[in-house]
C-alpha cells in the first residue's frame, strides 16, 4: 500500500492505495466520483477524462499514485456550489450535444481544457481538440455546436474581477 493525498473537486482525500490502482478506479470506487466513466480498455475513448493539475488526462491511463499531491477536477466538480451548471455543461444541454450521454463527462472535461487554451476555436480546432474523445451516438455535429456556444457564453459572461471586465469588453459584441 502507498499513502497518497489528492484534492478532488475541492476536497482533500488521504488514502492508502495499491500501486496498481488506476486513478479512475480510485475516483469511482474509493471516492464515489462515479460521474467519471470508463468506456474502453485501450486509452482511446476519453470518456474517463478529468483535469489533473489543470490539464486534461485520461484517468484510466494514470495510476492513482501518479496523482499523489495533485489537484483533480472531475465532471462532478464543475458546477458551482449553488448547483449552477458550468457554461460547457449548459451548452451541451441546450445544444443537445449528447444522445446516450456516456461520452459526455469526458467530452465536457476535454472541452473545458480546450477552451482554457483557446477561448474562440474554429470548427476544425474543436474537432482536432476533441480527437481524444469518441462518441458513438451524435455524429459530433451537436458537440461542435455546443463547444461553440460554450465558448461564446464564456467570452461574453459577466466578469467577476476588474481585470476580467477589461478583457471581456474587447470581445463583447
Amino acid at each position: 500500500m502507498t499513502r497518497i493525498s489528492m484534492t478532488v473537486d475541492g476536497v482533500r482525500y488521504d488514502d492508502d492505495v495499491e500501486p496498481r490502482t488506476l486513478l479512475v478506479q480510485h475516483l469511482r470506487d474509493r471516492l464515489g466520483k462515479v460521474g467519471t466513466v470508463v468506456g474502453c480498455d485501450t486509452s482511446n475513448c476519453g470518456s474517463c477524462t478529468v483535469l489533473l493539475s489543470g490539464t486534461s488526462v485520461k484517468s484510466c491511463s494514470v495510476l492513482a499514485v501518479q496523482a499523489d499531491g495533485a489537484d483533480v477536477t472531475t465532471i462532478e466538480g464543475l458546477a458551482g456550489a449553488d448547483g449552477e451548471l458550468h457554461p460547457v455543461q449548459t451548452a451541451f444541454h441546450e445544444q443537445h450535444g449528447l444522445q446516450c450521454g456516456f461520452c459526455t463527462p469526458g467530452m465536457i472535461m476535454a472541452s473545458v481544457d480546450l477552451l482554457t487554451e483557446n477561448p474562440d476555436p474554429t470548427d476544425e480546432e474543436i474537432r482536432e481538440g476533441l480527437e481524444g474523445n469518441l462518441c458513438r451516438c451524435t455524429g459530433y455535429q451537436n458537440i461542435v455546436r455546443a463547444v461553440h456556444a460554450a465558448a461564446e457564453s464564456m467570452r461574453t459572461s459577466v466578469p467577476s474581477t476588474p481585470e476580467g471586465a477589461e478583457a471581456a469588453e474587447g470581445v463583447t459584441t
Binding site: 502507498t2 491511463s61 476535454a110 480546450l114 474523445n133
Partner: protein, 284 residues
C-alpha cells in the same frame, strides 16, 4: 482491466532511480508518462515486478540551450516540447512531430524520453531523433554515457538501454538555416503513423545543399533514408528532382505487415510521403 500487482517507488533522484532499477534487474521498469506503459499493463502485455516513477524529478523536465545544441529533458511532455520556443527556433521538426502524437490528453502526460525509450516502430519521435542526429544521455549502474540515435534504436521495441539504465536527456544539434517538415499518414484522428517521414532541408539559391530524411514505421527501427539524402544533395529544388530522389526511399527499409497495413501498402506510401515531406520542408 487492472494491471497485475507490482511494487512502486517514486525516485527522489536519478541515482535513486538507477539503484532501484538495478536492484530489480529484468523485473524493473521506468514509469515516465505512462501513456504507453499503462495501456500495456492494463492489457497485461507487460507485468513488471517493480515500477520506478520518474514523475517527481523536475531536473528531467524542460528544454535548455546548450550552445550549439538543445538539451531536452527526458520527462518533458509532448505538450511542453511542441510549445517550447527554443524547440521552435532550433529544432522545429520535433515540435511538428510531437503535435501529431495521439491527442491532447496523451500529449499532456506522454514524454519525449518515454517515446524514444519505448521505441515503437510506429512512434513519431524516434525517426525525428534519427534525422536530427540526436544523442541520448543515459545514466546507468556503470555511470553516464552518450548514445547516438543511430546506435540507440536496436530492434522492435528495443533500444540500447539495459536494466538499470535511465534516459535522462537528449542532445539535439541546432539546425541553422534549415527548414523542416514531418509528414504523417494515419487513418484515424488520434492514431499512430502507418508511415511517417521526417525531413530537414537546407537550400542554397535554387538548389538543395543538404537534406536529412528518416522514415517512421518502415522497419523494426526508424530508418535513415541515406539514398534520398544523397540524391537530394546538390539537386535543383524542383518537383521533378525531389520526386526522383524520393523514389530511393525504400533503400534500407524493410516494412512490416501489421493490423494497420501491409508491407506492400507501406512500400507504396513511403516514396509518396517522402516526396511530400521534402517538398514541404524545402518549400519546393
Amino acid at each position: 482491466m487492472i494491471p497485475a500487482a507490482f511494487d512502486y517507488t517514486k525516485a527522489a533522484s536519478v541515482e535513486d532511480a538507477v539503484t532501484a532499477l538495478a536492484a530489480a534487474g529484468d523485473d524493473g521498469k521506468v514509469l515516465a508518462g505512462g501513456q504507453s506503459l499503462l495501456p500495456m499493463l492494463r492489457l497485461r502485455l507487460a507485468a513488471p515486478a517493480m515500477l520506478v516513477d520518474l514523475g517527481g524529478l523536475a531536473e528531467l523536465r524542460g528544454v535548455h540551450d546548450d550552445g550549439d545544441a538543445l538539451r531536452i529533458g527526458a520527462m518533458t511532455t509532448h505538450d511542453e516540447v511542441m510549445r517550447d520556443p527554443l524547440v521552435h527556433e532550433h529544432a522545429p521538426l520535433i515540435a511538428q512531430a510531437a503535435e501529431t502524437v495521439g491527442d491532447r490528453q496523451i500529449r499532456h502526460l506522454g514524454t519525449f524520453g518515454g517515446s524514444l525509450a519505448h521505441a515503437d516502430p510506429a512512434g513519431d519521435l524516434p525517426g525525428v531523433a534519427l534525422a536530427l542526429d540526436a544523442v541520448m544521455s543515459v545514466v546507468g549502474p556503470s555511470g553516464v554515457r552518450d548514445v547516438p540515435a543511430s546506435d540507440f534504436f536496436v530492434d522492435y521495441f528495443t533500444t540500447a538501454l539495459g536494466p538499470g539504465d535511465v534516459l535522462v536527456s537528449v542532445r539535439v544539434p541546432k539546425l541553422t538555416g534549415w527548414s523542416t517538415h514531418y509528414e504523417k499518414f494515419h487513418q484515424l484522428a488520434q492514431s499512430w503513423s502507418v508511415v511517417g517521414v521526417a525531413a530537414a532541408v537546407r537550400r542554397s539559391n535554387g538548389s538543395i545543399a543538404e537534406a536529412r530524411v528518416a522514415l517512421t514505421n518502415m522497419g523494426v527501427t526508424p530508418v535513415r533514408a541515406r539514398g534520398v539524402e544523397e540524391a537530394l544533395t546538390g539537386a535543383p529544388a524542383t518537383a521533378d528532382a525531389v520526386a526522383d530522389a524520393a523514389a530511393r526511399a525504400l533503400e534500407g527499409a524493410s516494412p512490416l505487415t501489421d493490423g494497420t497495413a501491409s508491407a506492400e501498402y507501406r512500400t507504396q506510401l513511403a516514396p509518396v510521403l517522402t516526396r511530400r515531406a521534402v517538398m514541404a520542408a524545402g518549400g519546393v
